[in-house]
């Protein structure tokens, strides 16, 4: 069960107004649009669904869960090992850099909010936004399951908002897409929390190519 206060904390943690620059990343969508892989809401939905079914279930959610438990047990050795796994599993330089840049921004914010251990563990959590997210959730008594819902939702919302600007789509079309994909968030979290250690990891081939090509894309507004 999540307490009312913890629910409010979770809403705060996933707010797009959090000053960590989430809206500046497109995770390859900017190139995928230029390549005409994504032209309309239907393509965008398929792109996001395919990542929800692979990367979110088999990489992000299970590693967030393990970071939550290891940081909760003060086990920074294990947490550090999972961060290394996460960084080596990001398919491109830009996707890895995004993980680190968001991690640094989030750790600075958590330190400014006086979250215990954020300062002492900064060298660790500044490498990964998932780690900072887990630490904030622990401090605010947000259960791991709800933290994972928030994490996946916030990923989805940020990418839809970026894509709406890039394609471009109307604001309402973006909101419709979020409404349609919301049930999938529940499914992804449920499955992601069941993944065994040996099944962790997910490669999205087209995403990896799109992100690689974005690194040298001539005209680009987004950082990934």
């Amino acid at each position: 069960m999540i307490t009312n206060l913890a629910l409010v904390r979770l809403l705060h943690l996933v707010s797009p107004s959090l000053p960590i620059g989430s809206f500046t990343y497109s995770q390859g969508i900017e190139w995928a649009v230029e390549a005409a892989w994504i032209k309309n809401p239907h393509d965008l939905r398929a792109w996001l669904e395919s990542q929800l079914h692979s990367g979110m279930i088999y990489l992000d959610v299970p590693i967030l869960q393990r970071l939550y438990h290891s940081l909760g047990a003060d086990d920074i050795i294990v947490a550090g090992a999972w961060i290394t796994v996460l960084l080596a599993s990001r398919e491109t330089y830009e996707l890895q850099l995004e993980e680190k840049n968001r991690g640094r921004a989030l750790s600075d914010l958590l330190i400014a909010l006086d979250i215990p251990r954020a300062a002492t563990w900064k060298p660790l959590i500044a490498q990964s936004q998932a780690a900072g997210f887990a630490l904030a959730a622990l401090h605010w008594n947000i259960p791991v399951e709800q933290a994972a819902y928030g994490y996946v939702w916030s990923w989805l919302e940020n990418l839809v908002l970026s894509a709406v600007k890039i394609i471009p789509l109307g604001q309402t079309q973006g909101q419709k897409l979020l409404e349609q994909l919301s049930p999938l968030v529940a499914e992804v979290v449920e499955q992601g929390l069941q993944v065994a250690d040996e099944d962790i990891g997910a490669a999205s081939f087209a995403l990896a190519i799109a992100s690689s090509r974005h690194e040298s894309q001539y005209t680009r507004l987004f950082r990934s």
């Binding site: 792109w47 692979s54 290394t84 599993s89 330089y93 830009e94 990891g201 490669a203 690689s212 090509r213």
Partner: protein
């Protein structure tokens, strides 16, 4: 001698262990252990000092229950280049899973693993793992070209299940971890995944500098019969091709191999003669 060891229901268990060491001015195959239908042809030396060799799998195809194990070890200062004369094939399976496990240890030495493509027939069930352990200043160039079904005869990959895992470590630290599962239609057609394309291929090379990355980027633009991209992650150059032509994937990788080889391991690229046949 190749000793065939069919082991009943569990299929062929084949193993090839090779160890390369540096003797005065050339690399030699110092140790060889083989079990089942995996073999190596006598090494040859088309360029100074570097040991070239063909890895053979005489049956040519792998069926459910078979397991192939390739262990290559390259000792300090040695340099081995291994390739295969023909495509590997994973046939349809009535249920049993086939496996191929590659384990490479490169200890302050250089390994190049440049095989032909691996083809998966419809309804294949397989797991393929590649684990590469680099020590110290080790250099590695390797690629894998995979083809689901045989697009040249218009055959598509009906839902089988294939799991691909690659892990590359330097001094026990993971530089690259990759796991791809193709299990049914949804994975074949996933928009950010395979997009319905039958051929996907990855080239890895390390150590590589950001300057070298810039020289490779143009090769990945405007590739015919597919799409390609290159990135540099933790000092590992990763080139990916997604499309419908194994020939195109090989052309791209061989071009890039020729461009980067001098910078990665100090040798001008000498294409194995078997590539011309």
């Amino acid at each position: 001698m190749i000793k065939a060891l069919p082991s009943g229901e569990s299929g062929w268990q084949a193993e090839l262990r090779l160890e390369f060491t540096q003797r005065s001015n050339k690399t030699v195959l110092a140790k060889r252990h083989q079990r089942g239908p995996l073999a190596i042809q006598r090494p040859f030396y088309p360029e100074a000092g570097v040991c070239h060799a063909y890895v053979l799998h005489p049956p040519g195809g792998v069926v459910g229950g078979d397991a192939l194990h390739l262990h290559f070890k390259v000792e300090p200062h040695a340099h081995a280049l291994l390739t295969t004369p023909g495509a590997s094939k994973f046939y349809r399976s009535a249920g049993l899973q086939a496996a191929q496990h590659q384990q490479f240890h490169v200890n302050d030495a250089c390994l190049e693993w440049l095989p032909q493509e691996t083809i998966f027939f419809p309804n294949a069930q397989a797991v393929l793992t590649s684990t590469i352990h680099l020590q110290g200043s080790a250099q590695y160039i390797g690629w894998e070209v995979y083809c689901l079904g045989r697009p040249v005869i218009g055959e598509t990959f009906q839902p089988g299940k294939v799991v691909f895992k690659t892990a590359l470590y330097r001094d026990a630290k993971p530089l690259l971890l990759d796991r791809l599962v193709v299990n049914g239609e949804r994975d074949l057609f996933s928009a950010a995944g395979l997009r319905g394309q039958p051929v996907f291929a990855t080239l890895l090379a390390t150590p590589v500098s950001p300057e070298l990355l810039e020289t490779v980027q143009p090769f990945c633009e405007g590739v015919a019969l597919g799409t390609a991209g290159v990135t540099l992650l933790n000092g590992v150059l990763i080139v990916r091709y997604l499309g419908n032509s194994t020939a195109q994937a090989h052309r791209l990788f061989r071009t890039i191999w020729q461009a980067i080889r001098p910078a990665v391991n100090g040798h001008v690229a000498t294409a194995p003669r078997i590539w011309n046949t």
